[in-house]
Symmetry: C2
Subunit: 470 residues, 2 copies
């Protein structure tokens, strides 16, 4: 989930025809009239930068990139694209992992990073509104002195509106929920330029039973229903104390059993992450560590000092019951970071297994009942195990088309295994380009039909990020 | 939110024409062929029972009531209604508070209480699937020995599928979330009889990013999009220890300030309920108690014994800082119930203010930023103050049409006040019949248009619980 090397290799670069912008001059002129000339670009380098995310999906550059300054401009620019029948692709940090920002049918990329205001902070109501240019780290830095924070943490320093668009989650979800649970309202520009407030303009309540949950409909819609131009988020009180812990297990089964029992005991664990033995070996090598090469759990506890102490004690007992050993914990930030170094560097450790300047990787990700983890054959696994969500990092030579094919087939097999166990093909990365063939298997024909009908209501010309999800 | 007296008075009984079933004999015959003769009734007494919930909305009996035994029957029966163009109204416990089950356009009431299976319990994955006949108390009784429970508690012993349909919440929502956060999958029969699994058949994962959130769309749809025939729920570990506490405050402002600070301090309070001075006086009188006649908070803490002890200590300090007094707490079930007696009996205490056999009441309910509570003039207020959600109980003489009118106007004023403060007109009771005029004010024209379009996709003939929400 972390930032990693970009692919720049044969077979994954844009196709020849995509090197040229197909944008009519008249349309470019209209975009410039709204956003200002310097805020519209058709330069190849710029378009290429906007045609890929951090996944292995082939770069598909848009025909033009525009940087709107505010929601009024977004609305007008969308209206122009709509009247010209040209695709609209929202873009912010480009940290997605399923090709969500690729312009597979060309069109105009809306780079929303210049809209970066944080507004309407209410420390009484635990709410704040952010524009697409605000990343989670920027928000938490802004909140530093308020005693509040926003806990959803997908690893990358992603745009919060982008996280809403992809239904992101990450390590803290076991305690604080995913974006689905922490988005209270969205301002959305529809394909034709109309501006929707999913829970009503300016509203920021903690719960509601008023009509259909439109906010929930847009969270996870991956830019296919509209451009999210503002998200109202639910904040949480910063934990007074944090303790990190690590422990090794004799088997995957024992580590998963321990996780289930920690949750059953009602220990409000904030993070519980799993690394398998192969991954631990890679981490030891990469970071010069000497952890046991065994299935390992990384835990984090939040709360008051007394509560955290008790959580550690209780968890320690459960670890022991499950044959865990080397249970180590740390209170101070530096010591915590040292303890969690293996987890933090897992991504780079995996990539380093294939030395050389050109490395490709694919994250096979799915989420399922706890049974699955036990079934998966070992190999570079990182799991948000408290949610049953895990990632299998596959490192390959991007020049080797055969290997790419094998890697893709493995990812599909893994997703199908999750589906066979009543799970989902994606816990947090989204459908994007790469998992469209699995969505119907997961949701069924009728569910997919209804999704298509909803898409047709909100985007009748199929201009919003076309070719994704459905 | 508790069960209370039913209205049986002039002006609120069915209209003359509603006394007669308008169901064509041919249709009744078709329903009987599917459900069996004894499971279809057109008797007035039965129809009247099914034409009202626990609110003051006029009883509107359906033309027939049918008791399906399984989802296949529901599907076939819906198909029959669909082909005859006859409204379909889902019904289970009838404990709603916004007239959601009234058959304002006649039609067939589907009483789903005979479908009462609890299936697919997974104590490892913390999930269970329930049919509409399963109430929250029945589920928790079933779970008693598993170490798990389902915490959403609207007061009434409502059907869990009904709670999903109305996006119910209640006292535990501040810690465990509402139905929106605890429903993982729904089996829904659409108006034309097609069976949808909102997250895919049999799936029960803790999180997903696969396509649009159809589950979230049906939670809170109040029977207007389809009949919920099964809900897969997220369970939680039962708390090892529970402590209840009560304290009085010199002002509403102080009680609300204390609530905000408890939440800001990150104390994981399970319940935090507010009763104003008028309500406390009523409770003292009704239950023979001697609480201070002041704004009062009722709290409950869940966790390990050590953590609960610390929560109580921390909360006690914050109570003191806000001028709170008489801070009392209790560990044992009996003592806890005694301490919370005032809160538990608040409803009956309010009704008892108007002696006589015939009492009407209306719960003006809304949810807003914390500012509002401080603004509201006092009078029989019960608040889920941790969510900014509160109820104002209005007791009146149901024979006095003028008073009914004044009560309705007061409820609308209160909801508009919440809207003016960026809140919602309903935190948990839903729109139903009574708040349709407020939904547009809350969500705006565009939001309402999109809701109508979604309704038209799923229910093109407007047969699913017509006249509600939109």
């Amino acid at each position: 989930v972390q930032t990693a090397l970009r692919l720049q290799t044969r077979g994954l670069t844009p196709s020849r025809s995509q090197l040229f912008s197909h944008m009519p001059g008249e349309l470019v002129k209209a975009l410039r009239a709204v956003a200002g000339s310097p805020n519209v670009s058709t330069a190849l380098a710029v378009r290429e930068q906007h045609g890929r995310d951090e996944s292995m999906h082939r770069c598909s550059p848009p025909d033009a990139v525009v940087w709107p300054q505010d929601v009024e401009q977004v609305s007008k620019l969308a209206g122009i694209c709509y009247s010209h029948g040209v695709p609209i692709i929202p873009f912010s940090t480009g940290t997605g992992l399923e090709g969500g920002v690729t312009a597979v049918r060309g069109g105009v990329c809306f780079n929303l990073t210049r809209m970066d205001r944080i507004t309407a902070l209410s420390t009484e109501d635990f709410t704040v509104a952010v524009e697409p240019g605000v990343t989670r780290k920027a928000l938490n830095s802004y909140l530093r002195d308020t005693g509040l924070w926003f806990p959803v943490d997908p690893g990358a320093d992603a745009s919060l509106c982008g996280m809403a668009a992809t239904s992101a989650s990450g390590t803290n979800a076991v305690r604080y929920g995913t974006m689905r649970h922490n988005v209270l309202n969205l301002q959305v520009v529809l394909a034709d330029g109309r501006v929707l407030h999913t829970a009503g303009r300016g509203r920021h309540f903690r719960k509601s039973a008023a009509g259909y949950n439109l906010t929930g409909l847009f969270v996870g819609s991956e830019g296919t229903l509209g451009l999210i131009t503002q998200a109202t988020l639910r904040l949480h009180g910063s934990p007074e104390a944090i303790v990190a812990a690590v422990c090794a297990f004799p088997s995957v089964h024992a580590a998963v059993g321990c996780t289930v029992q920690v949750l059953q005991a009602g220990i409000p664990v904030a993070r519980i992450e799993f690394l398998d033995d192969v991954m631990m070996a890679a981490c030891n090598r990469f970071s010069g560590l000497s952890y046991a090469v065994s299935p390992t759990l990384f835990l984090e506890f939040h709360g008051s000092p007394g509560s955290v102490e008790e959580q550690v004690r209780q968890a320690g007992e459960i670890v022991q019951l499950n044959g865990g050993s080397d249970f180590a914990w740390a209170w101070e930030l530096e010591a915590r970071n040292k303890l969690w170094a293996a987890r933090h560097n897992a991504w780079y450790a995996a990539l380093a297994l294939r030395p050389g300047s050109k490395v490709g990787y694919l994250t096979a990700e799915s989420c399922s009942p706890f049974k699955q983890l036990v079934c998966v054959s070992s190999g570079l696994i990182v799991g948000h195990v408290g949610d049953g969500n895990f990632h299998c990092i596959l490192v390959f030579d991007p020049a080797d088309l055969d290997e790419i094919q094998r890697v893709k087939e493995f990812a599909t097999r893994l997703a199908r295994q999750a589906l066979a166990l009543d799970g989902t093909c994606t816990g947090e990365h989204g459908i994007g380009l790469g998992k469209r063939h699995l969505l119907c298997e997961e949701i069924g024909e009728l569910g997919l039909t209804i999704m298509r009908q909803i898409k047709a209501i909100l985007d009748p010309k199929n201009l919003m990020n076309p070719g994704k999800v459905l």
